[in-house]
Symmetry: D2
Subunit: 324 residues, 4 copies
């Protein structure tokens, strides 16, 4: 479906799309890695060959009180406090011998507060999680008992491809809020950017919309949950067919907001996570990398995006490192 | 100094060693990256060439309530709680449209609780931080204002070298607690392991002692802060001279415990961090990688160890990924 | 039932006791206050007349890292960190005008970590909460939607009565772990202490076992969840019949541990909270008050035990204040 | 000073006022209780006699995500999460025997986020804390080592007096933001309200401005830190001379905002806490109590305001209970 759908019937559209795109059982009934199965050792080995200059980019936003969260769904910005400080050490109140002093710190934060991966336990469809499991048996108050992010702690390192849809279709490199990126536009961006942008099995696709660029300039506004450019619901087929291993964007929620139905909430998530088994990255900072890719004319690179190994997490913060 | 020192005078020994090993000013008065300056783009590019098979290893311990912390210095294990669950979604109490359900989570943890990097603001010598700055001007209750971990968010990706001192000098691959690893033993381990183990400028050196292997088998005991194998104070000269960019171990505190003075606390830290400007990794899980290296006969690999980008952090959790 | 029961059939014993003691519907189908309904304004007014000397006692344990929790069920001790400090202020790094400096702090803690009230949403019987409501409709990941502790924020102030069973039946004022306090022993304690100890409708009964006294002397050991003196399962009838408004003890779990069935977990809770609608206080420090009562020969006092007003909490920390 | 002062010289005005109002040494060099020394047992006993009806009022705002904090100084609203839920219990995933189920919860919050007491370690004057102690020796990263809130855990129970300045001087019972309450207006309010409002040694004075009433109706806006009615800097003399034990308001910061100097931050705090040793309560909800007092024509009551007993806290949340 790249065409039209009934705006008044998200439930029907989602059900139809889910049926078309389902990967349930594709890697066995016990599978917990979803589309990460596409990223095999051969692909990882080849991807390492993309390092030509040795320049590294962090694709993480800063984790601090100045982030985008405003409390919705109890998502706050990280609170970072000190257990010991240099002022204490300088004041001589730490009680250590031979002049050693130290500083320690602690953090309290939602795992979905900033640059992150959605795990496969993050979204359910009618009470069913990835691979057809009952959500209530997968994610309890104890966390994700089956598809916790720790199950993919070692896996997300491979070929990254940047699709700078912002530069391809936006004014000054930025798509407006509400802009629904279609499969045709993804394809056109690939064509425009050239051969290094081809997308295939096992790739980690990074879609830059430019919304973060705008938020950085103008303030967060409703970045966390409000209107945003993002993938159209209709790209589900492409996400499935292309056999990519993951996709990440520079927006809060990956898909276009407002969503493309009259009354809906993240319908593409409802297909992508529980049915496709796709790993989705959100709130990545792609700007410096995009500038570099544009200058080089090359949009592929080695990417390591290792989630913090929190047992049972339904998502995890990450500091993705691209090396060109 | 690889020889003897006065066990009763840690302060004098530290001062002497600090003077011999100081890198203050080496990269300018404004430097905040210390030994990461040794890891340049050429070295990073060459390191990517070490990927031969495409096998990835996470070197992170799990972040959960079953970790080693017991409350000392208010260091606790991570507390991971859910903001939304699958049981809620299955019970239909989430209030979302078209059958979508979700799970979110939150974490509260010391940044030094498990697999981590010590930042340059973590340790002071007589109230002085890295590069000669007053500790009280560097790390306040607001965090590290100068050398926060965010300053090196993009940098720690390069050549990793495993020195499996546990296998080289231990019984069954494990050094006993209190075993002080000397420069001679590091050198002998390199010689034993062969050419792929050579250590030089810009390398990230991983020293496996086997203590974590033991803790995994026997329980944590005093892993967090108690007796442990680790680097001898006398290796400071080697750490400085070898121009490595970082060093990490599978123990709580990197250096041997009890420390080698009658009354002391982490004297090697007091030289390594504020004077050498060295990045130290602790509580890494090197076992699977070590088994692989031993089987391959190759001890070098591509290593990405990107700290969580917490603004102002004096250290940070990390999920290091080695690719062979 | 003050007699015998089948140690092998907790489920049957609980069901029988629950039927005998149920207060469901007693205060209407919408009731959220349970036995707090017994504490009316007349009783509260009379209780204020018990203040004779004006001496106040805090019955709260300290909330800090030195508390009894060891991580079971992710219950940790409170982690208290500073957002600003006096050392910062003294170092002049706070940036405020005219010499003002400040200190702020933050806490992270389970609501059940120390001196507390169990709310009516804390325990369920076969998925049913107080007054017969389905547990899944009462307590979700969003908290207690019906009987959150805020519903009784203003209510718990009235007549307190101390029953010092430790002094009455223990050696040196302390009952041994595993000591099951029976109705007969409660009655005998009242008789022994005299007229000021009579217990009736609307009273807040404090039962001192002496276990905290022992833990304070010998260390926490298994105070949190291990063997303890406490109320026998057989006291459920008395708890119901006496029409008390609340009961609190100096132990972790109010009822005797190990529990009095072969394989059981807190069976008296399963009757007292969802069926009687009783408010239970745990980990109170009754020692100073008990010494005073013993010296005075008077065991009644004015008691205010106002839970922290956390919306949706299933329990809450409290600093109870007794005034004699 | 109830007259004028130089708006351009807060530092001079504060110094002069501090000298006039200092209680340093009044209760000995070791004192940690400040004005709580005024509240003795006789006064507490007499206060209990004020209970005439037995009606209890909680003066606490709700502690939840809907509070006033917006992140300034890392002050956030409380984050309350569940460790176990009724939905889990209903789903049968908790693993307990005989049908018992449970819910537990955890909170993370600044101690200054909502209804609270400022402790004596909360504010410093030029690096000096209450009773003349160096701030750096009192409050380190380990908390308040001297005047932690635990030192007054049992003390704050006595006579409360409501001064409803909002009703006395406001339109519809609300003072506008920026309204500086003077000594004259306090006195006039007392006169207007009658004999039950007299203020003297050992009293806990509650000043209602009506700002919370407005915030409840119109939304928080800048309630946390923005413009507000409150006590004039010039009332310091009255606060000192009246020998009250504590004062609390329904605003974020007790004193008028913007402050009455051209460039200042909470100058009255700088006198009241370190010099007078006064306990200040903030963000109390006085509305229901005020309505009752107005109807009764009586403005005095028994008040228990027991801070959560957090060791080393520089302030603490509280659920104050007034009983009329």
């Amino acid at each position: 479906m790249t065409g039209t759908f009934d705006r008044t019937d998200p439930e029907g559209a989602i059900a139809a799309m889910a049926e078309r795109c389902s990967n349930w059982g594709r890697w066995g009934a016990d599978d917990v890695r979803g589309t990460l199965n596409f990223l095999d050792e051969a692909k990882r080995r080849d991807a390492a060959g993309l390092v030509r200059r040795g320049v590294a980019f962090s694709l993480s936003q800063p984790f601090d009180m100045h982030g985008p969260q405003k409390g919705w769904r109890r998502r706050t910005n990280p609170v970072h406090t000190m257990l010991d400080t240099g002022t204490d050490a300088a004041a001589g109140v730490q009680g250590f011998p031979h002049g050693i002093g130290g500083a320690d710190d602690v953090i309290s934060m939602p795992l979905q507060c900033s640059t992150q991966w959605d795990g496969l336990g993050h979204i359910f469809d009618h009470g069913i999680a990835w691979n057809g499991r009952p959500a209530g048996e997968v994610v309890t108050s104890q966390g994700d008992q089956v598809t916790g992010i720790e199950t993919v702690a070692d896996a997300i390192a491979g070929r990254g491809v940047l699709l700078d849809v912002g530069r391809a279709f936006g004014d000054e490199g930025e798509l407006p809020d509400g802009f629904a990126i279609t499969e045709e536009q993804l394809t056109a961006t690939i064509r425009r950017q050239g051969e290094t942008s081809r997308v295939g099995r096992g790739d980690i696709v990074l879609v830059r919309t430019g919304q973060l660029t705008r938020a950085r300039r103008e303030g967060w506004g409703d970045y966390a949950g409000g209107p945003a450019p993002g993938l159209s619901f209709t790209t589900a087929g492409w996400l499935h067919r292309s056999e990519i291993t993951a996709i990440a964007t520079d927006t809060w929620g990956f898909e276009v907001r407002p969503n493309e139905f009259d009354d809906a909430f993240q319908p593409l998530h409802q297909v992508a996570i529980p049915h496709i088994g796709l790993f989705i990255g959100e709130m990545w900072d792609l700007d410096a990398l995009a500038t570099s890719c544009s200058a080089d004319g090359s949009y592929e690179f080695w990417l390591t995006a290792a989630p913090l190994r929190v047992t049972g997490a339904v998502g995890a913060p990450v500091n993705p490192i691209a090396v060109t």
